[in-house]
Amino acid sequence: MLAAAFLAPTLLVLAMTLSGLLPVSARRTARKVMAAASPIVVVPGVITSLRAPTTADGAAVADGPGALSVPWMLFGVELAVDYPGRALLLIAALLYASALSAVTWLKLRHAEPRYTGLSALLVVCYMGNIGTYLAADSVTFYLSFALMSFAAAGLVVHYRSRSAHRAARIYLVMSVLSEVAVLAALLLTVAAGGRLVDEAPAAISASEHTGLIVGLLLFGFGVKAGAVPLHVWLPLAHPAAPPAASAVLSGAMVKAGMIGWIRFVPTDAGDASEVAGRVLLTVALLGAFAAVAVGLLQSDPKVLLAYSTVSQMAFIAAVLAAGLILPDLHPATTAAAIIYAVHHGLAKGALFLGVPVVSHYGHGVSGIVVAVGMVGAGLAVAGAPLTSGAFGKYVSKEAVAGISVLGVPLDAVLPLVATGSTLLLMRFAWVMRRAERRSRRAPDGELISWVAVAVAGIAVPWIVGLAWFPEGGPELAVPGWSASTVWDAIWPILLGLVLGSGIWVLHARGRLPRWVPRADGTFIAPGDLVVPEETILRTTGRRGSRGLDVLEAHSMAVRRTVAHSADRVSELISAGLLAGERRLTRWEASGLVVLLALGAVVAASVVIALSGGGGR
């Protein structure tokens, strides 16, 4: 079944490709049928996730249905479904299935342009994405990572608009940098003996280049996970993609960076781990709040959601960083990160998928359903009690107890992220409420998939956190119903609500101070840092290339001069020879030469005759 999880999408994409051989009309039909069938390819993945056994400590059972070894492929492909893989596989399958059905189960006139191609790309991304979760050897991991990264560029640029092109360009540049960093790190890891993912952290910490490898890993996966300041592509790419694609980008793909950290960064590498943890924690906290600040100033709902993703991923990063700083916490932080990731993936997926749903179904009876769903998802992201968000936040907070930043305990800082989320989501709700409503249409794949994800967002995190949680794993704190627990979950949200309402009231009355930037996406453009970066790069690029042009011109000039003088010299030589030859061609000259030769012979023989003493 594990093999089928990969084979099914491969076959589908192959079939879609090969249908290009058919005549035009047949090709169109075939592709339409296949696109409509595409959500089915996740079924083996779901089954695998549900049925694959894990051992008591969360590892995959060797020789079981949750492990697969293909020794002839590449350098031996190893796949294993362990606890993190299983959990993430499930949400990935759900998200992708929803995205696919949102794209394909529509009336033709409602569908995206080129939706069959989009669905094929989604399927490819799916393969790569679940590959990163399930890979048990470094090469396979890299393969999946690269596959996903590059296929996603197609999602980003789908609309072909100017902004989509810009987003895709920046996305590709960042992806390539991340790929190279990851490649370098993995090469070093494997060289140190960490071919299998299980052995990788130990190998890294035993290697001579631990610091370097960890740095590369932080950077490489940081790009993918949207860690500040490497997040710049994210607020551009996620909004640029079609909503369904944004859902998987935000919900599943960014988790590939997280799983990379979890799989590879060693905790027992002493200083290296600690430094890495500190660095990660710093940037994570910075990102978690800065993203909120920047996000609040945006006006595009999808950009808002993207910044929310940056903030949420920073939250996860902070949790993981705690595990690096205090290795004892590691099992707990990892588990917490997984659960949080599951929750966030579904909730954020629901929000992204909800953007078009609101505009299409956001009135009348269906509007109520939609509103409920969206608010639910939003509350989940904010971490309101009873929601999966509360579960994730609670688990995380428990896991990081014992770490402090600048003297403030981390578990006291993290809830403030929820405040930020609340603010962002209020802004999101505000923007969405004013968003244009299009003509209503009959329930179709868009609505169904949104509903499915929203429902899954309620149930799945609990399954993952409770039913599947490995018995031998760290002790998992489940939020109880004590007042303090509930209060802990609620106060950040309330704080956010108060702040947000305050701002809104001020704004509504026009009392906002003049210096406060207006939230129209102009004060700080989406992608924040990327704007100056782009400018700098463009300038240096232009200057650099001009400099190189000059250099090249000079080297060409030198070369030409050298070649020219060489030509001159050879010309002189051959001209000299030619002149000599011309002179020699005259009979008298050549005769003189002959005479000289003969004279030399005679003279020589006279000398020999005299010295030899012999006579004729």
């Binding site: 030859e581 020699l584 050549s590 030769a597 003969l598 023989s605």
Partner: protein, 551 residues
């Protein structure tokens, strides 16, 4: 007299006889007889080659039964067999070419008032219409026509002379053969019409001077040794008393200078360019491929078989090899500067001659830098000389094959298009793929690139140069190879490129193109292929040359 021996005699006498007969025959039978001879000679060659190459015997024949010192003695050892093979192969190919394309044999004047005294089907007349006739006004009595019937007797006599030189066992014979070759060669050059007469005369003077020097040298040797026989003279000189040595050296010097004149070693090469370039298309290849091989052969004989090596020859060997090096480099550079095809090829001959004289350095012995005694090296003096000999002979033979093909092709183009200026011949190669292919193959041979006989020769020569410590020779060979590749590309590449400027392109009447049938392209192509194929015969040649070798 065994079959082989009679074949030996016939190789010399048959062409001579046929030459005498053709001289008194009308023109068409001359051609037939010539072709017949060319068909017979390979058959005669076979037994000779068999007994030298396979059985390893030296074939000996005293003509008319007279023994040395007076008798005419033919002897075929390995060296003879090698050169003889060249003579027969190239000779046959050129005969075929001349027979197929009679107008390649020269130009003659006929008088229109008495309208074609030999009839239109004469060997020169061919079957083609003659537009020149219309062009020539009636009041101009003399008209140049392509084709010259005298080619046949002259060429056959020349062939006989060549074989005589290669087969002669005594110096007298060598001299006579060489004279026969020289005389007929001069006459053959003169067949090229008005423009070639000056060149022929110049050639004549040089040839005579060279012959006289040879004659004096031979006389000196005879007066010392009392015999004309090569082997006997060599044996006598080897044991000769010290006081005869200067005379022997003087003889050697005279012969060497004489032969250098005839072979056109730089700086005695100036006669060669007009002679070879101006000769008719069927003659240039003969001159370049065969005629200058005769003096080379004589030199090899005298240096290796007759006069024993000694310290006192050191200066001479150095001078010769330096001249050789100068020829390689200078000839190649001058070839690069030519604008016409045939002079370019003639200069290439000058350059090639240089290679054969690098051999002198190897005969002169090893320099101090020789790698003897280094790990894995076990070279003796004899090895150096013998591999140098193999190399030189291989290069000479390779040159013979390749140059014959090259000159045939160039002459063909010149005849057809009326010019051999390379700029004007742009793109004409498109009409004659076989011809260009032949030129390409022979260019490989001339440049000494693998796989070709010249390459094998260069290899052996380089090896022995390195073994003898003459590293400079390697440099010369390398430079020569690069330059030769350069000028050959310069010669051939334009043929393949369409003319950029339509105005300069030469036009060829349709009938002439038709006339340039596949058959005419065959001889150069075969020779070109042989150049390449013979490259695999290096080892065979090495074995062959040990037959009757002086060591």
């Amino acid at each position: 007299m065994s079959l082989t021996q009679s074949a030996l005699g016939a190789l010399v006498l048959l062409p001579l006889l046929v030459a005498a007969v053709t001289a008194v025959l009308p023109h068409t039978p001359r051609r037939t007889l010539g072709v017949g001879t060319a068909l017979v000679l390979p058959v005669l060659l076979a037994p000779v080659l068999w007994s030298t190459a396979v059985d390893g015997d030296v074939v000996d024949l005293a003509l008319g039964g007279y023994e040395p010192p007076l008798g005419i003695r033919l002897r075929a050892d390995g060296l003879s067999a090698a050169f003889l093979t060249l003579s027969v192969v190239v000779g046959t190919a050129i005969t075929a070419y001349a027979a197929v394309l009679p107008h390649s044999t020269g130009r003659r004047i006929v008088s229109p008032p008495t309208m074609q005294p030999e009839g239109p089907a004469g060997p020169g007349g061919g079957a083609q219409p003659e537009p020149a006739e219309q062009a020539a006004p009636a009041d101009r009595p003399g008209v140049w026509r392509p084709g010259h019937p005298s080619f046949w007797p002259l060429w056959l006599a020349c062939w006989s002379g060549l074989n005589a030189v290669f087969l002669s066992g005594d110096l007298f014979n060598t001299y006579v053969g060489l004279e026969l070759v020289g005389m007929t060669a001069v006459a053959l050059v003169a067949l090229g019409g008005r423009s070639s007469w000056q060149a022929a005369l110049r050639y004549l003077f040089v040839a005579v001077l060279g012959s006289l020097l040879l004659l004096i040298g031979i006389g000196l040797l005879v007066s010392i040794t009392g015999t004309l026989d090569v082997l006997q003279a060599g044996a006598v000189l080897a044991d000769a008393p010290e006081e005869t040595r200067p005379a022997a050296v003087l003889a050697l010097c005279l012969i060497t200078v004489g032969m250098c004149l005839k072979v056109a070693l730089v700086p005695f090469h100036t006669w060669l360019i007009p002679a070879h370039a101006g000769a008719p298309s069927a003659v240039s290849p003969l001159l370049s491929a065969l005629v200058i091989k005769a003096p080379v052969f004589v030199l090899l004989r005298v240096w290796l078989w007759v006069v024993p090596a000694g310290e006192d020859l050191a200066v001479l060997t150095v001078v010769l090899s330096v001249m050789g090096a100068a020829a390689v480099v200078g000839g190649s550079v001058l070839a690069l500067r030519q604008t016409h095809l045939k002079p370019l090829i003639a200069y290439s001959t000058v350059a090639q001659v240089g290679y054969w004289f690098l051999f002198a350095a190897m005969v002169g012995g090893s320099s101090s830098g020789s790698p003897e005694g280094l790990p894995g090296v076990d070279i003796t003096e004899d090895d150096v000389v013998s591999s140098a000999l193999v190399g030189t002979v291989a290069m000479a033979l390779g040159h013979g094959l390749a140059k014959a093909a090259m000159f045939l092709a160039a002459g063909f183009l010149k005849d057809l298009y009326g010019t051999d200026e390379m700029d004007r011949l742009r793109g004409v190669g498109q009409h004659h793929p076989g011809l260009v292919m032949a030129m390409g193959l022979s260019a490989v041979g001339l440049a000494g690139l693998p796989i070709s006989l010249s390459f094998s020769g260069k290899w052996m020569l380089t090896t022995s140069a390195v073994a003898a410590g003459h590293y400079w020779a390697v440099v010369v060979i390398v430079i020569g190879t690069i330059l030769s590749a350069a000028y050959l590309v310069r010669a051939i590449a334009p043929l393949l490129v369409e003319s950029e400027d339509e105005g300069t392109a030469v036009e060829v009447p349709e009938w002439q193109l038709e006339h340039a049938s596949v058959l005419t392209q065959l001889p150069p192509l075969v020779l070109g292929l042989l150049t390449i194929v013979a490259g695999f015969g290096g080892a065979l040649l090495g074995d062959l040359l040990t037959v009757g070798a002086p060591w």
